[in-house]
């Protein structure tokens, strides 16, 4: 089968005719006045779906009953179930337990000593990883204690732990079902797509409705967010197992249960653990944003500091989030990739259980010492360094000394880039926009793609979100453009020079570890709020894949082709422009796809620094507990993201086809 018949492109003659017609139509549409219903979507055509949707959800949460069982009882039961392990862990790690009595003093059981927890984490890092990792981990935890962030950090860690455990178990379960039944898997894919692109804030409102304001709702949102990637990784990991492994299990006479749990899942262990690593990072990012609905922890610290413009405190807490992110990323990676030494089976049991025993010993020892040396238990107040206070000073100093430069930068960016693009997007007639989207889709991927694009944007118009959507889209388009421009240049440089690659890839590694929320802090610090900091945050966040993929693409050009080009007389420069970059194009486009997805992911969060598109609607919906609006606006963003994803993938196929390359995955 040749590639030609897998590419659903229309015939060339038909294509030129349609293109011409569309161009003419689009041009003539742009001459219409703004009163014309084809330019600005008329109010009368809009449909208010948000109110009935909101009412339905409120009904679900309050009064819906299945037979004799109130639906809210069910959700409350689930919430209770999730909250039990969480409260236990939060108590052990951060808050301790209080038992109130009416006519006697309250019984208070303190949490574990900070030194105990720190040493357990260090030991884990050393056991599974290396000495440097252990030192790094110890340093980070020590910093949390010294800078007075201990309790928040431990609370965040506890939330992440619970979310990851529940999310991984659920995800593996769903993933196994998806592996067993192709039909089930196919049905789940679009649901996963939407869940993964739905803005965080849209998750939060229903969670508040069902579970009430507080850490449990935040945990549930996190779990729901972490489920799809884990389920996908699981299905994929099971599928990629050699067929013979399952066959061996069957021949050995495994029952279906044994086949899954004794053969397939353990054999896919390494890939699953890498999936868990992903889930950890995702949960961390979400747990922090979920502080909006009362999750507390480091995210809560940042948020309250931002609200009262104590930027220094926000930076300190943000730094702590960064440190936690890097630490648990490396730690979980080390655990996932651990090499087990052989010869353990013959060791006596205390040698085999050495790790668990030493951990217990460390904890017990720290508890035993803490009455004698209270500093082992709680870092003394007097020795706590408030980073925030210094930070606030530094920020103030920057503000007063570089005010002129910073405002100049902000104003130029606004006037030269942001404003004109925004005006353009807002002035485009909606009918023309939909027409062009549909035509593009048709050319790139046939009528199905065209239908998808047209439907999503028409729905946005009908729901009354057109203007907001254009504001979101302008911000995404501009930041994706900038991220791609800068990112590919850096990527090509990294592709050509080993030294550049080493530095840039290290930077990209860190950039990709940081939760979205962290990016907001420096940009707010410098540019306060508005579109400029939002734009910068998106570019910073989304640039990583542009660099990574370009570098990989340039380096991945087969040596034989390079030698061939050299033999036919290319000089170094021509080699780059004529051979390496064109051949890297499909890979770069794959990067573009990721850049767009990440830009949408960040866009959603930028509502916190005052961007004004659809994301703002979802954020406001959280504050007002308006589930209808929050969900619909969220779906609109998800829809746009999915359309972009499919269009870029189609474009990638077309380009790879014309270059005669196989489409990279």
């Amino acid at each position: 089968m040749s590639l030609a018949d897998t590419l659903p492109s229309p015939r060339p003659s038909l294509r030129s005719a349609v293109l011409l017609a569309v161009a003419l139509l689009a041009v003539s549409l742009s001459f219409l006045s703004r009163e014309n219903p084809l330019v600005v979507f008329p109010r009368a055509w809009e449909v208010d779906l948000a109110t009935p949707l909101g009412e339905t959800m409120t009904f679900l949460a309050r009064d819906f009953r299945i037979g004799p069982v109130q639906f809210s009882t069910v959700t409350r039961a689930i919430g209770w179930l999730i909250s039990q392990p969480f409260e236990l862990l939060a108590g052990v790690m951060a808050e301790g337990f209080s038992h109130y009595r009416i006519d006697a003093p309250t019984i208070y059981v303190p949490p574990l000593p900070w030194l105990g927890i720190t040493s357990v984490f260090c030991l884990t890092a050393w056991w599974f990883g290396s000495v440097p990792l252990a030192l790094w981990t110890g340093g980070c935890f020590f910093a949390f204690a010294v800078f007075g962030l201990w309790e928040s950090a431990m609370l965040t860690l506890a939330s992440v732990l619970i979310a990851v455990i529940v999310g991984s178990i659920g995800g593996i379960g769903l993933g196994i079902l998806g592996y067993r039944s192709r039909r089930f898997n196919a049905a789940l894919q679009p649901v996963y797509d939407i869940l993964q692109t739905l803005p965080l804030f849209s998750y939060l409102v229903p969670m508040i409705l069902f579970f009430g304001f507080g850490p449990v709702a935040a945990l549930m949102a996190t779990i729901v967010f972490a489920l799809p990637p884990m389920a996908r990784v699981t299905t994929e990991a099971l599928r990629s197992l050699p067929r013979s492994v399952s066959e061996f299990g069957t021949i050995a006479g495994c029952s279906p249960f044994q086949l899954t749990w004794l053969v397939r899942i353990p054999a896919a262990r390494q890939k699953l653990l890498l999936g868990v690593n992903q889930v950890i990072m995702l949960s961390l990012a979400v747990v922090i944003v979920a502080s909006l609905i009362g999750a507390g922890g480091l995210g809560g610290d940042v948020l309250s500091a931002l609200k009262s413009m104590r930027i220094g405190d926000a930076v300190a807490a943000g730094l702590a989030i960064t440190l936690i992110a890097i630490t648990i990323d490396r730690l979980s990676y080390a655990v996932a990739m651990q090499r087990r030494e052989h010869g353990r089976a013959d060791l006596p049991w205390h040698r085999r259980r050495a790790f668990g025993l030493s951990c217990t010993a460390l904890v017990v020892a720290s508890i035993a010492i803490s009455p004698l040396a209270p500093a082992v238990h709680t870092w003394p107040e007097a020795l706590t360094v408030s980073l925030g206070r210094y930070g606030n000073g530094v920020v103030q100093w920057i503000g007063t000394h570089f005010d002129a430069q910073i405002s100049w930068l902000r104003d130029t960016a606004l006037i030269v880039f942001l404003k004109p693009t925004k005006t353009f997007f807002l002035s485009v007639p909606w009918a023309g926009f939909v027409l062009v989207v549909a035509t593009l889709g048709w050319i790139l991927g046939g009528w199905r793609l065209a239908l998808l694009g047209a439907t999503v944007f028409l729905a946005i118009a009908v729901l009354g979100y057109w203007k907001k959507a254009m504001i979101s889209l302008y911000l995404v388009a501009l930041s994706v453009g900038s991220a791609m421009f800068i990112g590919t240049m850096l990527g090509v440089w990294a592709g050509l020079s080993n030294r550049a690659a080493r530095v840039l890839i290290a930077v990209v590694d860190v950039l990709q570890t940081l939760p979205t929320f962290v990016y907001l802090i420096p940009v707010v610090m410098l540019f306060s709020i508005g579109d400029v900091p939002a734009f910068l945050a998106i570019v910073l966040y989304a640039i990583a894949p542009a660099i990574r993929y370009t570098c990989a693409g340039v380096r991945g050009v087969p040596q034989a082709l390079i030698e061939g080009a050299r033999m036919s007389g290319c000089d170094n420069r021509q080699l780059v422009t004529h051979v390496k970059i064109p051949l890297a194009l499909p890979t770069i486009l794959l990067g573009l796809n990721q850049v767009i997805m990440m830009a949408f992911g960040m866009l959603v969060i930028t509502a916190l620094v005052g961007s004004r598109g659809l994301e703002e609607v979802t954020l406001v919906a959280v504050a007002r507990v308006a589930p209808g609006d929050g969900l619909l606006a969220g779906l609109a963003i998800a829809g746009m993201a999915i359309v972009c994803d499919r269009y870029v993938k189609a474009l990638n196929r077309v380009i790879a086809y014309h270059l005669g390359l196989s489409v990279p995955r």
Binding site: P242, S244, E247, F248, A252, P266, R340, H342, A345
Partner: protein
Amino acid sequence: MEAQEKPSILECMDIWKVFGNNAQSLLSELGPNPDDNAFARHKLIAGVRGVSLKVRKGEIFVIMGLSGSGKSTLVRCMTGLHALTAGHMLIDGLDLAQLSDADLVHLRRRKISMVFQDFALLPHLTVLGNVAFPLRVQGIGRQAREDTALRMIELVGLKGRESYYPDELSGGQQQRVGIARSLTTQPDVWFLDEPFSALDPLIRRDMQTEFLRLQSMLTKTIVFITHDFDEAVRLADRMAVMKDGRIVQIGRPEDLILSPADEYIENFTRNIPKNKVLRVRSIMDARTAPNNDVALPAEACLCDVAERVITGKGHHPVVDAEGTVVGALHRSDLAQYLV
């Protein structure tokens, strides 16, 4: 001859395995012997077409065929990994299709086992864990299963590496683990799907020798798959050659060499050193009376007796294991096989 009296333990009765949607109903519509076009028209792929064969107790039965000829598919049908599209598969007289799930599991746990081309070792278990795994699945206690496993590990010569993980072993060692693992349950029938194909030629040779040594101790019924005609000839008591899902010829290696069914088989046999494969019995003249006294054993291979025959004069007597004369051999009978 004498082997024929042994009862058969495996029996394939006109087995068909066709891949694709609605294969079963389409196959019955297409009539008894559909051709390639008919399959292509319905987007079906025929893996195994109308295979009938019997495997006797205690013999090494080799299925040989080039890549894609349907060997693995046939073995999967024989072990019940694939449901048949048509036909019947009997193990020990039981029709696999008629067995309940529980009976099938029981049969697999007790009667059959399999060795895989890519080893299919479980990466999370040590050598000991892997070899003991089939017993663990049966719910046998740790001590008992590890004792058995250790004996098997010793049998395949891996003693001392019990606590290694599969990725710490060489290919040959991994396949020894695979072999040990398939022997722990003491199965009656042993399936090996290209067990040595992934190994270097030298190691492959060692493993073949090792395999013959094991079989001389265990005498199991063996179905051995290979794409290598030399390997087939070396190991087989009887063998079947497959092409495009069908069996082209079944017989003892000597039968295939002496009377190939068609050109396809002849192509394989042409380069086989015949004097190493053929036995005196298969080329002797049973009707002529011997006229010298240098006796030749009937089961000896030609290369071992060649010198005696060539230097001797007249017709040598051929004697069987009991010492009775069963035929005669003249040096002119030998000439054509001494290439």
